[in-house]
């Protein structure tokens, strides 16, 4: 089992660094673009659409790729009720269920997102920006994000199975 988990953990570690780097660049662009929008409008009397329209268009590339890394760190909002009423052993099985659901939903949403992206790719629709950017680029973040989440769910699922096996041997 560990021969599968280790490479997956290593690969997910690299993915975490990449996704956080992208997210941090996007946050910085948001701050700078909207400040520049206000500044240019104040100085020149008219703003640039790019500065205003770019941050919302980038949000999806900030949000979806981070879903997986945040699942691993337990940062997502959840009803943390069971941990207070269950034993450690039962809790491991609940976690197993949660990671299985995450893996399953990653697959469902990846497939759905890919179909939607292909649809918008074929339609050739453009974003409402000054420079033409195909809208499918924004939608692509959805399947990409859920592939990443699938990889993290798989890692967490396998790690939990390993923990359960180890505890039953002991």
């Amino acid at each position: 089992m560990s021969s599968i988990i280790w490479p997956l953990q290593y690969f997910n570690g690299i993915l975490t660094k990449i996704t956080f780097f992208i997210a941090m660049v996007i946050v910085s662009i948001m701050v700078l673009a909207l400040s520049a929008s206000a500044l240019t409008r104040y100085i020149s009397g008219h703003g640039f659409d790019w500065f205003i329209e770019l941050p919302p268009a980038l949000v999806s590339w900030l949000v979806f790729p981070l879903l997986g890394p945040l699942l691993k760190t337990g940062s997502h909002i959840e009803v943390d009720f069971v941990s207070t009423v269950m034993t450690k052993r039962t809790l491991r099985f609940v976690k197993l269920f949660v990671y299985f659901i995450s893996l399953l939903s990653s697959f469902i949403f990846f497939k759905a997102g890919l179909d939607a992206t292909m649809l918008f790719y074929n339609l050739g629709q453009m974003m409402e920006l000054e420079i033409d950017v195909p809208i499918w680029i924004m939608f692509l973040s959805f399947p990409v994000g859920f592939v990443i989440m699938g990889l993290f769910s798989l890692e967490l699922l396998l790690t939990t199975i390993q923990e359960i096996n180890e505890s039953s041997i002991n």
Binding site: I26, M30, S35, S37, A38, I77, V79, I101, L119, F139
Partner: protein, 421 residues
């Protein structure tokens, strides 16, 4: 199929599946298999809801708060507030509440406010003999202040959902926010009246500390002045406040470092992803509501039963309290506001009034166990077991409910200021 979707959602919710997946899976079952909607429509709607321009203000206010947390602004505010009221009975507690109120006025993050002010004030208060559980819950109650005093992320999310202009929801929170501040001060005065007082600060000391806190105190002026003066959109004002926070941290207070700036950006990214993933997936649910005409069904049921406005407020308060106990405020917004707003409009009531009452009751849930992120955060600041603080929760809950009832009875408190804009 709809019943299955509801049962599935509850099972996933109580199994601690992340809420964005609960929204996504539960609503997808109803939308795809119950209503035969195509995935592309759902995903397109999710993107549209996330890409609303006004919502960009949420991560930017969080960023601003994170930078101020590390840039030294909180320290100056606390010192200034302590010099003003530290010599009163329960002075340190009152100073913490006032500093929280100030900090909430220029930061969009509840947790940043608790950490920033709590880290400085909570150890001091405990040293002076304030009961630990009381200190923890008092700091955690900042959650409610942040949700009301502008700029508030709750107001931005509410505006995005109901299309009420942000300038109006911001204005709606001012008077209720100040009243809540007074409620908290009264609570501290009552509970901590016997605890030792600080030596009164001289006028010169007050002046010096006020001067040091002045750049931080300018921030709400930049944010709200920019919006109400018509110079800035809410998102731009959030971005400008972020730049101002960086400027203050690097050049005025000189406490911000490059690595702490990067950490602030990283934490902003995390908070944004957590909130926006819920927004995206909750759109699936609102689509199901639209197609099934569920809000209309609730309204017609209410009309048929002859239920009045008072019963609605009572039911809403109860639902908010219960949901707020188990779920954080953002998912509660997306789960209930589409229905509550439709009902309140059918009663010819103001959506702005609904915002304040809703926040008042859902906010109480932020301090009630088991899901009380505010208490967990403030307890972690002083490395105390959060469970030890729960005995103080009933007192704050009762005060919160009284406050909520006051907000229901006097709609003018929330609607007067927005009517002037």
């Amino acid at each position: 199929m709809f019943l299955f979707a509801v049962i599935l959602s509850f099972v996933l919710l109580f199994a601690s599946v992340p809420i964005f997946l609960v929204f996504g899976l539960g609503s997808s079952v109803a939308a795809i298999w119950g209503l035969n909607l195509p995935w592309s429509t759902l995903i397109q709607m999710a993107f549209e809801s996330m890409n609303k321009h006004v919502l960009i203000a949420v991560p930017l206010f969080v960023f601003s708060g994170m930078v101020m947390l590390r840039g030294g602004a909180a320290n100056r505010l606390v010192n200034f507030a302590t010099s003003l009221v530290g010599h009163w009975p329960g002075g340190l507690g009152i100073a913490m509440v006032i500093a929280m109120g100030f900090f909430a006025a220029f930061c969009g993050s509840i947790l940043a406010a608790i950490t920033a002010v709590g880290t400085i004030m909570m150890p001091k208060m405990i040293e002076e003999g304030y009961p630990k559980p009381f200190v923890i819950v008092l700091a955690a109650s900042a959650a409610l202040l942040e949700a009301l005093i502008p700029p508030s992320n709750a107001a931005i999310l509410y505006s995005a959902l109901t299309y009420v202009p942000v300038s109006k929801t911001f204005a709606a929170g001012v008077i209720p926010g100040l009243i809540l501040l007074l409620f908290m001060i009264a609570l501290v005065l009552f509970k901590c009246r016997h605890i030792g007082r600080y030596k009164p600060a001289s006028n010169y000391e007050k002046l010096v500390l006020g001067f040091k806190a002045f750049p931080a105190l300018l921030t709400p002026l930049i944010i709200l002045g920019g919006i109400y003066g018509g110079f800035l959109t809410p998102s731009e004002s959030a971005a400008v406040s972020g730049i101002w926070a960086i400027f203050m941290g690097f050049l005025i207070y000189r406490e911000l470092t490059f690595s702490s700036l990067l950490l602030s950006i990283k934490e902003t990214a995390v908070t944004t992803a957590v909130i926006f993933s819920i927004i995206a997936m909750a759109t699936f649910l609102s689509k199901v509501f639209t197609y099934t005409q569920f809000p209309q069904f609730i309204i017609s049921s209410i009309t048929e039963m002859g239920v009045g406005l008072n019963f609605f407020w009572f039911a809403m308060a109860l639902i908010c309290l219960i949901l707020g106990t188990f779920i954080e405020i953002v998912p509660v917004f997306y789960l209930t506001i589409p229905i509550f707003s439709a009902i309140i409009l059918s009663f010819n009531q103001s959506l702005i009034h609904l915002y304040v009452v809703f926040v008042a009751f859902a906010g109480i849930g932020m301090i009630t166990p088991p899901v009380c992120v505010g208490i967990y955060t403030s307890a972690s600041v002083i490395k105390e077991n959060p469970g030890n603080a729960f005995k103080e929760v009933p007192l704050f809950t009762v005060v919160g409910i009284i406050y909520g009832i006051l907000m229901i009875l006097f709609p003018i408190l929330s609607t007067w200021l927005p009517s002037l804009i």
